[in-house]
Symmetry: C2
Subunit: 389 residues, 2 copies
């Protein structure tokens, strides 16, 4: 049981979108209007629910989130858009608010609009199931996740509860990563927007699983102010603590997603330091994390540092290849772009662990960033080839 912040209730029920009969519809409601902020996928193919949510986010406040798993409602044209709107409309009707006060998210199969007839009974059942535990909602949005993902934090007298589904960019469904954060903090829209941008940059944007960007990715936060006090502004005392708490929740969810990647057995932290800017360090880290060859090697327990350098070498960063040092499990396995004095057997042992740490130093500047990924395994391919549309 994870108790939601004051004023929030949630439910997760089976509406019938998943063939398995598992819970597949989640409803999150706040008893008073909440300030909202959201980060949505930049994929040019935005799923229908993303298009609806994008419009509704402009209002800056919301009363509910309705989310289904089992059907992503992506690449579904006008029929899909009608279904996403209907989800908002029926939810508004059930809980007594405007269609525009409802945010919508979907994850699952792509290319078919969800069955419209499932919506009304599903949303009504969800309304009847509303309670203050976050767990049923977290279970209802799972696809290939092996466990529900929930994280909590506190900021002053306010609490934050985050719920995500992932298996990262690797979902066979294409419908990737959803995260929702509910908080009873009293914050202004400007603070919430700023804090969310920072939190996402430090969490979900530091994980890179297979370079695929979903049509359905979204992170939404609702702050209903039930903890009391005037809405905090970005410069108010307490704003930093709130921003930090939101970051903590997002980071915990992101790490949970990496650790629960399809078929993954390891969590890999790739720190690139000695960059001229943090952005440069992130670009380098992402190029390394996206190397399928490297991630296969790690799955096999092999400290194949050559694949790290080869991936770094494909970027346009004007680094000097003969100035690059590479630590694998703390061992200096490459120095100046050539074999280093580190103990490769120790690096190999370190690669047997669940957490694998790779540090690349480009010796160009003072900036650094860490990118997180996992390993590619036979099970990953099995997941993604046996799923049929």
């Amino acid at each position: 049981v994870t108790t939601l912040p004051q004023g929030f209730t949630a439910a997760g029920i089976t509406a019938g979108f998943k063939e398995s009969g598992d819970p597949d519809l989640g409803l999150l409601v706040t008893d008073r209007p909440a300030v909202t902020a959201g980060v949505l996928t930049t994929n040019r193919y935005q799923a229908a629910p993303i298009q609806v949510t994008k419009r509704h986010l402009r209002r800056g406040s919301a009363k509910a989130i309705i989310a289904n798993a089992g059907n992503a409602n992506a690449c579904t044209g006008s029929e899909g858009l009608a279904v996403a709107r209907e989800m908002a409309k029926l939810t508004g009707k059930a809980i007594g608010c405007k269609e525009q006060d409802v945010l919508v998210a979907s994850t699952g199969k792509i290319g078919w609009a969800p069955n419209k007839t499932l919506l009304k009974p599903g949303i009504e059942a969800a309304k009847l199931g509303l309670g203050n535990d976050a767990d049923p909602f977290a279970r209802a949005i799972m696809t290939t996740d092996t466990r529900p993902k929930i994280a909590e934090a506190a900021a002053g007298n306010a609490s934050l509860v985050g719920i995500a589904k992932g298996a990262g960019m690797m979902a066979p469904t294409m419908a990737t990563m959803l995260a929702f954060v509910a908080t009873d903090a009293s914050v202004s829209r400007s603070l919430l927007t700023e804090a969310l941008r920072k939190a996402v940059a430090d969490s979900f944007n530091t994980i890179s699983l297979d370079g695929c960007m979903s049509t359905n990715d979204c992170v939404l936060v609702l702050a209903n102010g039930a903890a009391g006090g005037e809405p905090m502004l970005p410069d108010d005392p307490g704003a930093d603590a709130f921003t930090q708490a939101l970051s903590d929740v997002c980071k915990a969810l992101a790490m949970d997603i990496v650790g629960d990647g399809e078929g993954a057995t390891k969590v890999v932290a790739i720190t690139v330091r000695g960059a001229t800017t943090e952005r440069e360090a992130r670009t380098a880290g992402r190029a390394i994390a996206d190397s399928v060859l490297l991630r296969c090697a790690i799955g096999g327990g092999d400290p194949n540092w050559g694949r790290v350098l080869a991936a770094l070498g494909t970027t346009t960063i004007p680094f000097d290849p003969y100035q690059v040092d590479l630590f694998w499990g703390g061992e200096l396995v490459a120095k100046g772009g050539a074999p280093g004095p580190g103990d490769l057997d120790k690096a190999r042992l370190a690669t047997q662990e669940r957490d694998v740490v790779i540090v690349v130093d480009m010796h160009r500047g003072e900036a650094q960033a860490t990118t997180w990924t996992n390993d590619t395994t036979v099970e990953y391919v099995r997941f993604n080839s046996e799923y049929t549309t």
Copy 2:
């Protein structure tokens, strides 16, 4: 038996770079100086042999190519550079030419300089084994290839023989793609350079296996003029025929590489049409080909067209998502970015075949390009995780 063009001899012997004891050193010699052209990897980590070959290519003519498999001599610093130079020097000594007349290539494990003591006996044995069959050389450069790769063509009275090793960008060795073409055509350096650039653009650059660019990739061509006649210039009659023949050889080798990818069971042709430029069509095709999710789906026989659109959506091409049509196995499975009237069962049947054909029409312009890839299978991951440094 594939007879080399006039004036060329080749050998493939076991020098000891591969632990298996399989042939691992290839020598190609021309009895007179040959005009040369080459295309080398753009990875910032260029292997030591690539650095040597780059310098020797500037001379515009060469007498031999020495190539080993089993050790890529990449990320090996000054020690590796000394070995690559030694390979050229000993080869020059053996066949009676300058060190600078020898081009060097390596493929195999990364991060260790090859054992220098293997060079002298290996190169001497290779010299003794020289003959006019291309086959032993082709076998000596194989890594995870399941078969030697040779292609032939004729242009007027000249012949061309190409030899490659691939398994594409997927080699667990990181040391990817090598291709060598020997021809007795009499051509100028300008024609050879132009023809090779065009041939590579139409062949090796249209295949994309896992987006990894090797430290060791190279394509080298030697034209020794033994077929007689004045060296042909780009505008001479016959120049087009020569260019076409070189393209044909490179295309045949590239297709052979795609079909022999590690663990691959299918060859996938992705044609993007309705682009404003060919370059744009190639960018789109490559983004689609590099989608691991899509390639897993194809391995599983699933016409998962949503993954094609999702990959296209990650590019910066300003196409209209709702104008895109997609044919899979000839079936219009998506129209205007939404499900199309095509028969998905027929598309699924077509995905059982060895050759899978996907056509994407962006409806922006008249340009088109085809990108080739293969499927990602459990065997691919096994290959790439079980290899140990």
